[in-house]
Symmetry: C2
Subunit: 696 residues, 2 copies
């Protein structure tokens, strides 16, 4: 009943929202109708761009001390054609010339040119996807209606891309600002204005009506399927790829979950072992069925190895078809401008011949070797320290339990594990900030290099932090019951902690601290609603989400054979994770703005590395499997032979993995043909243009 009530409420809200949206929109549309002339939006430069309705895409929030003169200058800059050094966009001053926001939109020509520059694919008139070419624009479907041609996320990213790429064409004084604030030739304007405090924020705007539709299709009901195309439409391919992977990965947990459940039910052995490890008593397990040569342990280990390979290969194929569908198959690599945070002495870039800050590579290498590596090492040391403390605590608690043996002492048994997990999580949070500072200090020129170094640092630490204890237990202590206990508590505690820090806390903050300041009614002018969006916190990025998935994947592929219920727990967790992540990105934060992407990028590699390591780990766990160990103790099998067998199995399985990875093509045949066709067409188009140039 409560559910139904909720739904009704949502519907009422929606209707209200629609009405309000309609009203507010009509007001902005009124301004937009006179786009080519009059006040409101700035003028468009070419006739084809004049349209009935201008859609507010990005909000620029100005600093508190920005005068109308400066605001006018900025709007003129945004509106000026690109060949005159402007952004070629449309600007709207909000309610009046003195307000502290500028709403930015983009005319058709700018969007189409940006589509070509980014290398996006769009539907051709014959139904295929083709790399968009501006000179061939009339043959693409919907190329006269930008709202159908490009997704909301693409349009917003393009506006931000044009703004971020603005460069001064000569030395400039900014009207209304002191003389010390000067733009020098080739300066990145947007970044400089930010450092002058003129621009506080630039972020894409939510569209309440679309957001409502999206969230209903996404997490409001009991949907099993995510509306991925809509997510791509609204949040862009970067976010859509994350959710696609989450979705794919969650469904591919089904086979190991079923296997895990059946092993847990049918194999008495495992149940007994689990009971033992939970109760802490070492009941004898020599009554197990001697006819069973292959234990659930082994089945699970071999299955894990093959499963992780097949899943990663199948994901690559899925990823290729998604990327075709979303038109990002042929994204152009561009010779990027230096990232905003990059600094150095001005010089001539040997690649592009442009004057820009240069920073010698040997200095960066030195910084990495002398600062980053030791600091990262220090943190890894802290991990080891935590591990040592955990073992000390574990020993003390075991002693206590032996002395007292009460329900309390049995509960106490879990305390060191829980404490250690909390310590580990805190350390990870601190480290992430430190890693960012370090990578900033390394002063990478390209955004991608920055991202890769940051991700690399965090990955090394995360791997160490999450798996060091487990590897230590598995490989040095060789204590399977302890490993099982740790894994179980890690899975349950980590997931709880994550859900709480990620969703519950932001939700509470939003509901009880921020929201009261943000009450809005249907009659509010649209400008106020835009301004309200800027009070939401910025989206923290997908980094933490990917790390979470990676760690999960690690638990499952590296160690799940000792705790068969891992996949079941992860499946349950991920089914809620999809919903909570969706809720989070829709409701609790500002709309994020990511460039279009064609795949998971560096994360894909991280997952694949993990699936390689899983072979080593599983082979070792096979050696430790209770049944084999017992046969060893009974002298049926020499430990050298057992080890030799494991080594041979390991090498064979790695071979199988490599062959499997080579035999399953990374993209489905039809995608390969389409991609080649796209590449062929663009090559032909270029050649055609060249011929024309020569003839003319």
């Amino acid at each position: 009943m409560k559910r139904a009530g909720d739904d009704e409420g949502a519907q009422q809200q929606q209707q209200g929202g629609e009405a309000a949206g309609g009203k507010a929109q009509s007001k902005l549309s009124a301004a937009a109708a006179s786009a080519a002339s009059g006040p409101g939006w700035t003028k468009v430069s070419c006739p084809c761009c004049a349209s009935e309705r201008v859609e507010p895409l990005v909000l620029v929030k100005l600093g508190p001390k920005v005068g109308p003169e400066t605001k006018r200058w900025l709007m003129k800059l945004i509106g000026a054609p690109q060949k005159d050094g402007g952004a070629g966009l449309l600007a709207h001053p909000g309610e009046d010339a003195s307000g502290n926001i500028i709403v930015v939109s983009a005319p058709r020509c700018t969007l189409l040119r940006a589509t070509e520059e980014l290398g996006l694919c769009k539907s051709y008139h014959n139904g295929n996807m083709e790399a968009f070419s501006y000179s061939d624009r009339d043959n693409f479907k919907d190329s006269d209606n930008m709202e159908a041609f490009l997704t909301t996320a693409e349009r917003q990213y393009m506006v931000k891309y044009e703004l971020d790429g603005l460069r001064a064409q000569r030395d400039l004084r900014i009207p209304g600002l002191p003389d010390s604030c000067i733009l020098q030739n080739r300066d990145n304007i947007w970044q400089k204005l930010g450092s002058f405090g003129l621009i506080v924020d630039t972020f894409p705007l939510h569209e309440p009506k679309k957001l409502k539709e999206l969230s209903e299709a996404w997490y409001a009901g009991n949907q099993l399927v995510q509306p991925l195309d809509k997510v791509n439409e609204y949040f862009g391919s970067s976010v859509a790829f994350y959710f696609s992977f989450l979705d794919f990965y969650t469904w591919s947990l089904l086979p190991p979950a079923v296997l895990g459940l059946s092993i847990a039910y049918f194999s008495g052995e495992v149940q007994r072992e689990m009971l033992e490890s939970v109760s802490g008593s070492q009941a004898a397990d020599d009554q197990d069925d001697p006819g069973l040569v292959i234990s659930g342990h082994m089945v699970q280990a071999v299955f894990s190895m093959l499963w992780s390979t097949v899943v990663m290969e199948m994901w690559k194929r899925r990823s290729a078809s998604l990327s075709y569908r979303w038109g990002t198959l042929t994204l152009a690599e561009r010779f990027a401008e230096p990232r905003p945070g990059f600094h150095g002495d001005l010089g001539v870039n040997p690649v592009t011949g442009r004057v820009e800050p240069l920073f010698p590579e040997w200095q960066r290498d030195l910084r990495m070797a002398l600062v980053s590596v030791p600091v990262v090492g220090l943190f890894l040391g802290l991990v080891v320290l935590g591990m040592t403390c955990f073992y000390w605590g574990e020993a003390r608690v075991q002693q206590l339990h032996k002395d007292w043996d009460s329900l309390l002492s049995q509960t106490l048994l879990y305390v060191p594990s829980v404490l250690h997990i909390v310590y580990t999580n805190m350390l990870a949070t601190v480290y992430r900030t430190v890693a960012q500072t370090l990578t900033e200090y390394e002063n990478h020129r390209e955004e991608s290099a920055y991202e890769n170094h940051l991700t690399g640092k965090v990955l090394v630490f995360t791997f160490f932090n999450c798996f060091a204890v487990l590897f230590h237990i598995a490989f040095f202590k060789q204590d399977v019951p302890l490993l099982r206990k740790r894994l179980a508590s890690l899975l349950i505690v980590t997931q709880l902690v994550n859900q709480v820090t990620e969703v519950v806390i932001p939700f509470l903050v939003d509901r009880f601290i921020s929201a009261p300041h943000r009450t809005e009614t249907a009659d509010d002018p649209e400008e106020d609603k835009f301004r309200n969006q800027s009070t939401l916190p910025a989206f923290p990025g997908l980094f933490a989400e990917y790390i979470e998935l990676l760690v999960q994947f690690g638990y499952l592929s590296l160690f799940s054979c000792v705790f068969p219920l891992t996949a079941v727990l992860l499946l349950l967790n991920n089914l809620t994770e999809i919903r909570s992540d969706a809720y989070k990105i829709c409701r609790l934060f500002r709309k994020p703005c990511y460039p279009p992407v064609a795949n998971l990028g560096v994360w894909q590699i991280a997952f694949e590395v993990l699936s390689f390591v899983s072979v080593v780990s599983n082979c070792w766990l096979l050696v430790l499997s209770p049944r084999l160990q017992k046969r060893c103790q009974e002298g049926e099998l020499s430990s050298a032979n057992l080890l030799l067998g494991a080594v041979i199995v390991e090498h064979l399985l790695i071979l199988v993995k490599v062959i499997l990875a080579a035999l399953i093509p990374d993209e489905p045949g039809w995608i390969r043909k389409k991609r080649e066709h796209i590449e062929y067409t663009s090559m032909q188009a270029l050649r055609q243009q060249k011929l024309q140039t020569e003839e003319s």
Copy 2:
């Protein structure tokens, strides 16, 4: 004295050759002077292509029954502009219209356009290498003098490329041929004419003067350095890359050779072991210095692993700078026409939209799975059969030696090894033909796919054939002395056999069977000399050469720790190999014609895989090292712990290898900047052209 005499003779010959060349050339130049009009060479289509001298590049040898009418038609086709369906080249009928050769050359415009199409880099006026662009041709150095602008090999390849790419633009009857010989629309003309027997051969011509110069700088004296740039100029980058790699690899054999020699001299242990294995007697080796914990065995094993990684990484860097120097850094991948041997039903290619033969992929997969895989398996079985026979023979001979113990029986000890090596070599030769037939039957569309599948097949077999016995001895029999003996005989016998089959036999055939039919005097018309070149056998390709290097590299990196003199033997072999290969390609065969390449291609991967396998193999050989085995037997070390240690060392070394490979950049910093500059410039050029097109 004999040497000096030879040199004198060579000089005399050279002078004679020059005089003859001069005379003959003047005659052809006379024809060439009237290139734009008159008989001799066909007319050029544009004024800028008219030149004083036309250089004969490629010889087309016609079938015996080709009449003057057909020859005229063919020359007209070769001379017609490309837009009219011709090749845009220059043709010369040889001595008269009825002769069975056509000499082909290329005018400037065709060469320049082909340079752009192939994506070659050339010197820009500012001294940098830039991707050549036809519309910017005047800014490139020497772009008005084709003999300085392009290498001989490039010019010849371009002529062949244009001829091979000729396609009928409509259904055509060939004059002078029966009506059954018809060219259909989109048929590959050159291939069809070949199947009609109209064209027997198309090959580039040697230039006696240049060849003489090259061979003197290359192998006639005692040079330590190869004239690689000249090799690139004359034979093209494909051949030059092979010789560069051979050169680089030979020099990088110095460190392991020095190490091997010092180990062999200073470590009494190894000497004693070698003596034992050679004499076959099992003398006790327990008097070795107990203070030495690390034996030469171990030093060599660890060194081999690191050496192979570092060498491959350094080669990548060297390869990148060579490719920059030779202008092949940015070779364009083109959407190749199907390879000549490809057949199938006519259909529309979904990628290019062209009508061409299509062959369903599932059918190819089926052929691979049902024919290729079993046949390859059969040959692998033959290898195992050979191995079994070898062991049987080995056992018999050992028995014989024990019974008789004479000098004869001691010599007999080597017979099974030698027989087996000969069997192995013969099997390899047969298999190579079979692999070609199989790959042909698989009917790959692209030349590159064909090459890769062929190389893959041959590699699997070669690896099995050359290393199976060694692996078997090392891993199953665990018999280090036998391994050492095998390795020594393999190294010596294989190298002798190779040198004989590769050089001595072709030399003898050439000198005593072919040459008498080919006596030429200085007064012969140049046409006859050209015709003489067609009597030389075709160059057998670099495939066998690469295989030879790969096997060498395998012996060294996989097993050298048991026979420290491996590197010394290989070094000696390669110093002669460089000379004999150079002699072979210059003198014994027709001039080969390969497309320009930017690296070793699939061979690079094969070498890297081998260097990975070397870690596994060396770790195992470490375990088998006599010192460790003795400690094991004496009970100081349990065999399980020894094995565990080896596994840990192996995993660590693989990690080190991966990190090392990641830390050493694949191209030197300055090359990276140059490459990026080239890419940036071409992108800018394209954008410029687009803007012009739009404005016009």
